[in-house]
């Protein structure tokens, strides 16, 4: 009975849901880049990290100089969490636009490499600017929104994480509504046209470079918001959480879910997280699939990426008829 109650505990379910929401937001952002505009952005994990760190730095004052184990961070603020989240979105969107500027000159696989390089630069800065980011050490004591209020006002005796699901869930829904509206709008149509054949909207009077920048900014901003949501759900963040392979996990999620569709992207994120959750439960004595998740996850993602690329008919677009109509690659 205790095993079941552990698995079904509100706390665990809530934590899992928060992850689903955060990853879902990441997938939404990437879908704007790839699904809508055909932009190969491989810097998404970096945007996530920038958002998390920005919000954490803005809302967490630097620790009192304590023992050697304390972080080396000297920069920190004590702004309200809302400021942190808005700051996260703005800063990440700005960085997204900066990296996105390369897409004006480059396309496809070259763009992928440039964005990867940009992400690596960001990672270098995060890991080495200890005064700002605590370097490889964690930023601790990140505040939680409305922590006190929930305890007192609602006081149902539920753990905080359950309330956080509500907060972040609302953010997710709002984001989803906003992006779907953009997708169905003339703005979305121009992005789709850029994806299909950039020369056409150009020949019809659209400054495609500006649209790409906007797409980059929007998608990165969402990733930044996801980062902020993530940071405030945890008590601490640390650089090693934001691995390069995270970018490809989200990619796999978007592709599996059927890119071009925001709901599909969410579904893909849920699927990937589901696989991870299952793996965690498998005891390490089971050969091959039991064992170190850190090693297994990239292998599974790798296999998934290859299989999905192979099986998905003629390209990576969600709508099969649409894909076949394009006979596009």
């Amino acid at each position: 009975m205790s095993v079941v109650s552990t698995i079904l505990s509100p706390s665990l379910i809530a934590t899992t849901l928060i992850f689903v929401i955060v990853w879902g937001m990441l997938a939404i952002g990437l879908n704007m880049h790839w699904g809508e505009a055909g932009l190969l952005n491989f810097a998404h994990a970096a945007f996530f990290a920038v958002g998390a760190y920005t919000s954490a730095i803005l809302t967490t004052p630097p620790p009192e100089s304590g023992g050697i184990l304390e972080a080396t961070r000297t920069i920190g603020f004590n702004f309200p969490i809302v400021v942190g989240m808005i700051g996260a979105v703005v800063v990440t969107a700005a960085i997204g636009v900066a990296i996105g500027a390369t897409s004006i000159r480059l396309a496809d696989d070259y763009l992928a490499i440039v964005t990867l390089a940009g992400a690596e630069l960001i990672r270098l800065v995060i890991v080495n600017q200890g005064s700002l980011t605590a370097g490889t050490k964690p930023i601790k004591n990140i505040p939680r929104p409305l922590e006190g209020t929930f305890r007192e006002v609602l006081g149902l005796g539920l753990p905080y994480s359950v309330y956080y699901v509500g907060i972040s869930g609302l953010v997710l829904i709002g984001t989803l509504i906003m992006f779907r509206r953009l997708s169905d709008s003339p703005f979305g149509r121009v992005l789709n046209a850029i994806r299909e054949d950039e020369d056409v909207p150009k020949a019809l009077g659209r400054d495609t470079g500006r649209y790409k920048l906007k797409a980059f900014g929007l998608g990165a901003g969402v990733a930044g918001l996801a980062g902020a949501l993530f940071a405030h759900s945890q008590n601490a963040i640390i650089a090693s959480q934001f691995t390069a392979s995270l970018t490809f996990i989200i990619w796999a999620a978007v592709i599996i879910g059927g890119s071009g569709s925001y709901v599909g992207a969410l579904a893909g994120a849920a699927v990937i997280l589901g696989i991870q959750a299952v793996l965690r439960v498998v005891p390490s004595t089971v050969p091959i699939i039991g064992g170190d998740l850190e090693v297994l996850r990239p292998i599974i993602v790798g296999i998934l990426l290859i299989v999905v690329m192979y099986v998905r008919p003629q390209g990576m677009f969600g709508n099969k008829e649409q894909t076949l109509a394009g006979v596009k690659e």
């Binding site: 003339p186 046209a193 019809l204 659209r206 400054d207 076949l324 109509a325």
Partner: protein
């Protein structure tokens, strides 16, 4: 370069008949000169035909005029203004619209979406407006949808407006390309082989429409076509090109008899 600009300003009054003008425009690819100091004028409110055997440089010239290629030398003037430095989308916003020889339908989008993309200055393309000013956007879209329906019907694509463009036949794609270009309400339309693959009845229909647009709405056309007869019939002026150079330019009857042009067709290139 400055001298040429001076020249432009001084001679504007002389050339205000021409909606598009190129002066000594040149384009080289490696060792090959695809367009060699071409100077032509496209008169406003007229249909101008551009003919020449394959490889004459017609598509390259189109790309130079529309800004998809950067000229190695020379200038392009649109309505008297030097547009040589302008990007393709900037020229399109001025009213210079081109179609492509090999159709560029947006295959993963529907016919209607293709058409709607043609309409310029859509307020819904701004992010904030798209998010918050629904009625303004809807009004614009509705109006454009009606225009598109009318055009599609005229092009006999009316039933296909929800079909993915990638599923259309070759001729239908050509028509969609034309319709999409017309949606942008161009002042000058550069048509690159608009009739290729389109069935003959429809071709006449289309040529009538082009002539009507020219006469009734004052639109200008520069048309590349291999159907010499059709070109001679509808064009006010015909320009003949061969191996990157202009051989002859003038009334259809005159051009038809031009020795050098006949040589070019018979000699090297095929029609």
């Amino acid at each position: 370069m400055n001298d040429t600009q001076q020249l432009t300003e001084n001679t504007t009054t002389e050339t205000d008949q021409a909606i598009l003008e190129t002066r000594d425009v040149t384009k080289k690819f490696g060792g090959l000169t695809a367009v060699d100091r071409v100077s032509i004028e496209v008169n406003a409110g007229e249909i101008t035909g551009l003919i020449g055997p394959n490889g004459a440089g017609k598509s390259t010239l189109f790309n130079l005029m529309s800004g998809f290629y950067e000229a190695d030398d020379g200038t392009v003037l649109f309505r008297g203004d030097d547009v040589t430095a302008l990007r393709p989308d900037e020229r399109a916003q001025e009213g210079l619209i081109r179609t492509f020889q090999i159709t560029r339908e947006l295959s993963g989008m529907t016919v209607m979406q293709n058409m709607l993309l043609g309409a310029q200055d859509n307020p819904g393309e701004a992010v904030m407006t798209a998010l918050f000013k629904n009625s303004e956007v809807n009004q614009f879209e509705q109006h454009q949808r009606e225009r598109a329906e009318e055009l599609l019907n005229y092009l006999e694509l009316g039933d296909l407006h929800d079909e993915y463009a990638g599923n259309l036949s070759g001729g239908q794609r050509k028509l969609l390309e034309l319709g999409r270009a017309l949606m942008s309400d161009p002042d000058l339309l550069l048509l690159d082989e608009p009739m290729a693959g389109v069935n003959p009845d429809l071709t006449d229909h289309l040529l009538d429409r082009i002539t009507a647009l020219c006469e009734d709405e004052g639109k200008s056309f520069l048309v590349v076509e291999h159907d010499i007869e059709a070109i001679m019939n509808i064009s006010d002026t015909v320009i003949g090109m061969h191996q990157g150079e202009i051989l002859v330019s003038g009334d259809p009857e005159v051009v038809q008899e031009d020795e050098a042009l006949l040589e070019a067709y018979l000699g090297g290139g095929d029609v």
